[in-house]
Structures are given as structure tokens and as C-alpha cells.
Symmetry: C2
Subunit: 385 residues, 2 copies
């Protein structure tokens, strides 16, 4: 049976070059970068080379990159770290209703610690209105956090515009670029970000490693206290193989960004066109300003989970909403924020494409999908045919 | 030139079987365990198998194991998580003066958030007196944190006794078992621990992965908020290759614990005997109750850093104090707590042995060491010959 992986938003397969780059650091070059002897020095050198590559991918300086264990840690560190470091200014944060759960739940945790959070709404495309963010900023606002693109619906947000408004009021800006870094151009200066989160597993790098960009001179309180790793901002023995893998993935992404986009966008559009050819199927997210690999649709009168499982039986792997919450079987908070009826939101399906997909993959999906939808609709009491 | 790695306390080389076990999960089995499709299911299965192996190593149930990114994260999660979850009972924590920096600095961070911390002293061997811990416990004490063995001086602490006293007063107990788990027997029930930290990099597993044991029914507040991974206690995409590597390392450690000990202890004792044959060299830590691989000595009239660098030039890799703070060039807080004069503490050297060391390694070190000490002493204004 054909196996078609269309869940790149959950995680991607590390490229062979990435795994190859990591291998020596899993085997013979196993030193701790903090050690003063040769084994430490050679590990440290590898980490610093990787740091430079990650910095280059997003237009940052190497000294502005802190390695973390994942995108979730980066987002938690940005929100909590910036909040804790700036209590003398105030205890208010502005974010949006459609952020990743690692931002939303970090914000909720801060609310439990006496901070106030404003969750800005979005329009029917999941687009954040910069004016709404501007209106939400108060005298005691210390941070605005708006994602670069939404992982579920693919909508790319006007972060540069939002940043301009926040900066005019002296407010720090964080952007969760986990869905974009390595997939579309990301530049910390064009975005004018103070904090920017990335995760290797989203762009053909290994799991267990991420990074947080922290603009030079911007203060942050650490999340993990201990040794003096990462300038004392993130304690813990450095995950050297992971760091090297992230560095390699960043190098390859910087080199191949256009090639990847040019390969994936036509496949995405072919999939969208085919899916919208099925009756009562609607595209979610912005029709134009969306991630190259994102196809999110709502299929009326059908449950997303059921489609997912039938597609899986046909060898096609997709998601219904964010993978981080998949096992909770809840309606997507993103689709809800866009004003979608719960029944229709429950019928949503998330296809996310990557560089390993082909036109044949898409044709295969478009062949399997209609009979699955038909079958499930026939069982639905709501479907009138 | 011979290369002798005697810095296993900084990190160990992953065993070939560990790397082999990880490989499929770095390559073809790359799914996100949270995904509902086959790629997710097979990744999840691997993680659960690993969880069982980690649990078996320490006598826990699989549902009591939470994967983290390192020992530092485990320690931070235990201290902060237990403190935050129990503020209704009180805001006081008891720990010791010789804990790892990830415990001490997490405690300091909590002090900055309004908690009070008592740092219990130790004797000249670095031994914690259970009665001192008992005396330090107050009505508002929520947690006692005492390490299972000290990473620098190797002294094994009477955690089971301390735990008994803490439990009698209804206080939770955390033990940092990063230096012991996988190296000597560790059993959560014998230790009567509520939280226990471990790190794969300390027992021939990969970097970037650790675990926290949390006794069933014991509440903790998460450090990383986001998705519903690890029962909602630790959000973030699971580091599947790391988890599998930790699982394999745990399985091998459980199998080989006695064999390793029987191999390493005679080498350790041979090294201690040889080093103490050099004039004005003293063993630090407990003479009997110490880690199998730990040799910490103070060499009078010489700086530890200088010896370290000369030994490195001879191919021998050692540490002077904890690797997490090595680059800060500070006097060890552990030796200071034991009452050692700063000058003598500055002359300390930490040899930590592992399963890859041989008698030839030890003989080589014992051949290289005396002339290095002699040379450095000749340059010292304090040395009278």
C-alpha cells in the first residue's frame, strides 16, 4: 500500500544530511561543551558552528540564539521570561486567540500568577488585525506575542506591522515562528522581533531541539536555572547532537527555501482544487496568504477524526487540528476563534505537505478521499444527500 | 598519544547499542507520538516501551515517569513544580549546601518569588546529617530536596533516612539521582522518594533527555505549558529518538549494574592509592560511601585548572569541580561547604571513571600526574618543597 505522509505540521522526517551530521556527536565526539579539555572544546566548537547557522537562517547574530529543547520551551521561555523580567513596568500581555497552545497555556499560567492577558480576536480567515493589537496595548503592557503563521490554518500574520505598532509604544514583541522558520523566509529585523521561537522538527531537523532568538540587550528571566550554559539563560547539559542537527537543518533550509516552496505550492494548490471539487467542502484559512504546505478544509456532515482514521487505513496520514491536542479530541480553538460553527469545525481536516511529497501522492489522496467522505456521509443523520 | 577520558561526571559516551536503538527513530520512524495515524502510533509505542524500561530501572510504575530534556529540567520541575503546587500548605523548602546548581539555583529563583529556603550544612566528608534536615523542617515546609550522591565528591547521602523523617512530618521528598541512576542501585521505594531526577547522559545514554519520577498521586505544577504530552505535565513534541535512547540505556544499566561496579571500583581504588602516594594530596568526599567512579583530590600548592590543562595536553581529560560551572572558574561550593580552605579547594581535581576505562588508563594517569604536579609546584610561590 502507498504511504503518504501529509502531517508535516506534526513533525517532519530529518533529512539524511541532518542525521549524518549528527552521527559523530552521538558516537565519538561525545564531550560536554562546558568541559575545559579537548573533548569539551570540540563539542563546543560544533555547537557554536550550529549557532551561527541558526542565526544566519533568521538574520540574527549568533550571540542572540539560545538553544532550547523544543518550540514549546522557546514559547514558554519567551512569554514567562519576558513577563517575569519586566514586572517593574507592568503585568499585562497581549496575544491572540489563535496562538499555539504553548503560548496560550503559558499565558494562562501567567494569569494564575497575577498577570493579565488580552486575547485579540481574528477575522474569518484567521487574520489578526494590527489595529486590534494596537488597541489592546496598555501602559502596563510588557509583551505582545503574535505567531508568524498559524500552524493549523496556515494563515500568515502581519507581524511586521504589529511589531511597528508595539515598538512605537515601547512594548516588546515575540513571534512564534515554529511553523514558518525553515519553511518561508523569516528575518528578525524585517519582523522587528525581540523574541522569535523556532523548532528543528518543523523543518527536517531532529526532535528535541529548538531555539529562541533574543534580541541583543533585551532582558529575560530564565526558565531553567542551574549551570552557566547559554550565558546562564538556559541551564542544562547541551544536547550536542540535537544542536548540530538543528544547525544542519537550518543550513539546508536557508539554501533550499525557494526550491522547497516552488515544489510544494503547486502540490498544495492541486490538493486544494481537488478537495474543493467534493461537494460541501470548504477551505479554511487565508486563500492567498498561507503557508506553502498548508491545506485545511472543513467537510460538512462528517467528523474529522473519522476521516483521519479511514485515510490512515488507506495509508494517508493527516491531522485534524493541532497534533499537540489531537488526543484530547476537542474542537479546534483556531476554527472557533474564526467564528466557525462547532459542527463544521469538527469536520475539519489538516493536510500539511512537505518536500517528500509528489504529485502522485496528491492524486492518490484525491482518489481515496471522495469515497471516504461519501461513506461517512451516508452514515450521518444530518446529511440530506 | 593515549586518550584517557576521566570526566564521566560531565557526560558519558552513548553505548553503541543505545545509538543503534535510536537510529530508526532518527530516520524512518519519525512520527509525532501525539498523531492519531500509524506514524504517530508507532512512535508512541516506542516511547511507552522506553518509559517501562526507565521505570524498571528505578522500581517505579511507567505512569510515574515523565520525560524531560535533561537532569537540570527534572530538578527545576521538581523544585518549582512542587513549590508552586503546594503554596496553600506553605512556602518553605529544605535542601542542602552541596546540591547541584540546578537545584540550588532553582531554589534561589523560588526565593525571588517569595519562598524561603533552608540550606542544610554538611560535614567534612560532604555527608548530610538527617537530624539537621529534620531540625530544618517547619510547619510550612512543602519539600525536602537532598541529592542521592554528590556529583563532585561522590559522597552517597542517607536519603532513605532523611525521607523517613520528612514523611513522618508529611513533607514531600525530592532526590536528585542524576549522579546515581544507572550507576548504582536506585529504587524509589527504598528511598521513599516522591520525586527523583535522572539524566541519560550520565549512564551511557544520549544528551538532551532526562526523566522525572513523580510518585502516583503527588501533585506538581508543570514548568512547560502547552499540548497534552506527558499527561499535560510536560508539553512539547516528544524527543522520540532521545526517549528510545534513554530507554535502552536504562535497560542496559539495569542488566549490567553489578558488572560495571565490579569493573570500576578496583580502578577507582587503584587511582586513589596512586594519587595519595603524591606528597600533600588529599582525598575529598567520603572514604567508603562514595560513587564507584568518583576520585576527587586536592593537591596542595597547585591550581586545579592548571593541572587540568597539563593533563589534557597529555591526553587525560578530567574536571575541576562541576562541569556546569567549569567555565566560571569559581571555587567549588561543595568543597567550601565541607569547610575546605579556598586555596586547597582551588587545587582540587575530579577524576570520574566509566566502563570504558582500563587499568592501563589508570597507570598512564599515575605516570603523567606526578611530574605535572612537581612542575606546577616549582612555579608556586607557596610551595616550600
Amino acid at each position: 500500500m502507498r504511504r503518504v505522509y501529509l502531517d508535516h505540521v506534526a513533525t517532519t522526517q530529518p533529512l539524511p544530511e541532518v542525521v549524518e551530521a549528527m552521527m559523530p556527536y552521538l558516537r565519538e565526539i561525545y564531550g560536554n561543551p562546558m568541559s575545559l579539555h579537548d573533548a569539551g572544546v570540540e563539542a563546543k566548537r560544533a555547537c557554536e558552528e550550529a549557532r551561527g547557522r541558526v542565526a544566519a537562517l533568521i538574520g540574527a547574530g549568533p550571540e542572540e540564539i539560545i538553544f532550547t529543547s523544543c518550540g514549546t520551551e522557546s514559547n514558554n521561555m519567551a512569554l514567562k521570561g519576558a513577563a517575569w523580567a519586566n514586572t517593574s513596568k507592568g503585568k499585562h500581555i497581549v496575544t491572540t486567540q489563535i496562538e499555539h497552545h504553548s503560548v496560550l497555556n503559558a499565558a494562562k499560567a501567567l494569569e494564575g500568577m497575577g498577570f493579565e492577558v488580552t486575547y485579540v480576536p481574528v477575522d474569518k480567515y484567521g487574520l489578526v488585525d494590527p489595529k486590534e493589537v494596537d488597541k489592546a496595548i496598555r501602559k502596563d503592557t510588557v509583551l505582545v506575542s503574535v505567531m508568524h503563521a498559524n500552524n493549523e490554518i496556515g494563515t500568515i500574520e502581519p507581524v511586521a506591522e504589529i511589531s511597528k505598532l508595539a515598538k512605537a509604544k515601547g512594548v516588546l514583541l515575540h513571534t512564534d515562528a515554529v511553523a514558518t522558520a525553515g519553511n518561508i523566509p523569516v528575518n528578525v529585523n524585517e519582523l522587528n522581533a525581540d523574541f522569535l521561537s523556532i523548532a528543528a522538527s518543523q523543518f527536517y531537523g531532529p526532535k528535541g531541539i529548538g531555539a529562541l532568538y533574543i534580541r541583543k540587550g533585551v532582558r529575560i528571566t530564565p526558565l531553567l536555572h542551574g549551570g552557566f550554559q547559554e550565558k546562564g539563560l538556559r541551564a542544562g547539559t547541551d544536547n550536542v547532537p540535537g544542536i548540530v542537527g538543528l544547525g544542519k537543518a537550518a543550513e539546508l533550509a536557508a539554501r533550499d527555501l525557494d526550491k522547497r516552496k516552488n515544489q510544494i505550492i503547486p502540490l498544495r494548490d492541486r490538493l486544494i482544487k481537488g478537495l474543493l471539487g467534493i461537494k460541501n467542502v470548504y477551505l479554511n484559512g487565508h486563500p492567498a496568504g498561507r503557508l506553502p504546505g498548508n491545506v485545511n478544509v472543513s467537510v460538512e456532515f462528517v467528523e474529522g477524526e473519522s476521516m483521519l482514521l479511514f485515510l490512515n487505513n488507506a495509508g494517508v496520514m493527516v491531522a485534524s487540528g493541532s497534533s499537540c491536542t489531537s488526543q484530547a479530541l476537542k474542537v479546534s480553538h483556531v476554527l472557533t476563534a474564526m467564528g466557525m460553527e462547532p459542527a463544521l469545525a469538527q469536520g475539519s481536516l489538516l493536510f500539511s505537505l512537505g518536500t517528500d511529497n509528489t504529485a502522485e501522492d496528491i492524486d492518490y489522496v484525491l482518489e481515496k478521499m471522495p469515497p471516504i467522505v461519501d461513506n461517512l456521509r451516508r452514515m450521518s443523520p444530518l446529511y440530506k444527500g
